[in-house]
């Protein structure tokens, strides 16, 4: 019997990360798209770092930052009683850093492509920035929004280096599918590795196909003339 827990963990991690990142990235992407502040390139570069950094480097820094010996780790542990190293909660935190640019960048591009006058019309209608973001900007960047969600989800499912560094490989806790496959190959259990890899491939494709089909339908039903 094949143990499906690693897959469940992978998808749970991806879903949680996507959900949390959406609410973190939304105001950040909006701010980046609207601001003329001098500090913008600095924030943009910082946000994009996880794309360039080797996962081991990112994982190393997160590991150090979250460890109980560090101020952050100690603070979280004393406040919530949660350890962030070699735990699922730690994986979620690490994944949020790792996948941040994949959520921020499509949203920011979407917001920047909007007609400025439409946003201004909302302010002129007496609406606050938050209401404008939620009721005018977001509904008009649906393709960018679904791209951000899909890519963040897919990218988190495909995570390996950071997960291994921060989470280790604790069964039922941090041993996600990618790590499980790596371990099987290490101990030369190719048969099992094949099965796991094939399931991963099939599931990932099915999720992406589902979302793209939904998107395709959405675009067609909008019926832009």
């Amino acid at each position: 019997m094949i143990d499906m827990t690693p897959f469940w963990l992978s998808f749970k991690l991806a879903a949680l990360t996507t959900l949390i990142l959406f609410f973190i990235a939304l105001p950040l992407a909006w701010w980046l798209s609207q601001t003329r502040a001098k500090g913008k390139p600095f924030i943009e570069a910082l946000t994009a770092l996880p794309i360039v950094l080797p996962p081991s480097v990112l994982g190393f820094y997160i590991l150090v930052a979250l460890s109980p010996d560090s101020p952050v780790g100690a603070f979280v542990e004393s406040l919530f009683g949660v350890k962030l190293v070699f735990t699922f909660a730690g994986l979620v935190v690490a994944s949020c850093f790792y996948s941040l640019p994949f959520m921020v960048q499509p949203l920011q591009n979407g917001f920047e492509s909007l007609n400025r006058h439409m946003i201004e019309a909302s302010y002129l209608a007496g609406k606050s920035t938050a209401e404008t973001l939620w009721r005018v900007a977001l509904p008009n960047i649906k393709p960018a929004l679904s791209t951000a969600l899909i890519i963040t989800f897919a990218h988190t499912v495909g995570e390996f280096g950071v997960v291994l560094m921060v989470g280790g490989s604790i069964p039922n806790e941090t041993k996600v599918a990618s790590v499980a496959i790596y371990e099987m190959v290490e101990v030369m259990e190719y048969g099992k590795a094949h099965v796991y890899a094939a399931i991963m491939l099939g599931l990932s494709f099915a999720v992406l196909l589902g979302v793209y089909m939904f998107n395709h339908k959405q675009k067609n039903s909008m019926g832009v003339v």
């Binding site: 007609n115 439409m118 201004e120 209608a125 007496g126 609406k127 008009n140 832009v224 003339v225």
Partner: protein, 218 residues
């Protein structure tokens, strides 16, 4: 009455210049603002609406919209604004565009009727012609019953017949709602038909011509 005394540095294709406007607008005035492209006509409207920063002060009926660094939020100004490119909320129907501004169903129906687009109420705005879009934009701008209506070349993308029709409509609405209206236009005929005062913006300064002078000029 609106007291305008504002200045802003503009960076155009022909170098930078300062737009400095010092003028008064009476309640009920219909002012057409003319001038060459890049003269700062649209910028002046945007400054009044709060969409653009500028030095100086703006007072409307004794209330300061901006003065010495303080600025009344865009949301709090009693302004209706019509953009050249309509700027409708594209994910909404015609009526939703109006109700988004102010949830007054009866008034929305009344405005749609006045604009003769009541039959389009449920249609998505992306499926409208240019003339229809501009009428929706105008109706939307009136939903808050603004004291001041600002229009930035509202007819520029329309054919002559539609221009004429909409100009009539605007004149009627201006009188009916007792608004103070400032409209940017390139068309002398429109200015003559609509305005009781005409401003020319030249080298960053607004000069006033009375409409009779305009008749002689053209």
């Amino acid at each position: 009455m609106i007291r305008i005394d504002v200045a802003k540095k503009l960076h155009g294709s022909e170098g930078s210049m300062t737009l400095a406007v010092n003028a008064s607008v009476n309640r009920g005035d219909f002012i057409v603002i003319m001038g060459e492209s890049g003269a700062g006509k649209s910028t002046l409207l945007r400054i009044l609406a709060g969409l653009e920063e500028a030095e100086g002060s703006i007072a409307v009926d004794g209330e300061f919209w901006q003065d010495q660094g303080t600025k009344l939020a865009i949301q709090k100004r009693s302004v209706g604004f019509v953009f050249q490119d309509y700027a409708l909320f594209e994910h909404m129907s015609v009526k939703e565009n109006l109700l988004f501004v102010n949830h007054d169903n009866v008034f929305a129906d009344e405005l749609l009727g006045m604009m003769e687009i009541e039959g389009l109420a449920e249609r998505n705005v992306q499926r409208l012609s240019g003339g229809q879009k501009q009428r929706v934009a105008l109706a939307r701008a009136l939903m808050r019953r603004p004291g001041v209506l600002l229009m930035d070349e509202p007819f520029s993308a329309l054919d002559p017949r539609m221009r004429h029709k909409l100009a009539e409509k605007i004149k009627e609405l201006h009188q009916r709602f007792g608004m103070t209206t400032l409209m940017v236009s390139h068309d002398v005929g429109e200015a003559k038909k609509l305005a009781n005062r005409v401003w020319f913006i030249e080298s960053g300064r607004a000069k006033e011509y009375d409409t009779h002078y305009l008749e002689e000029l053209y």
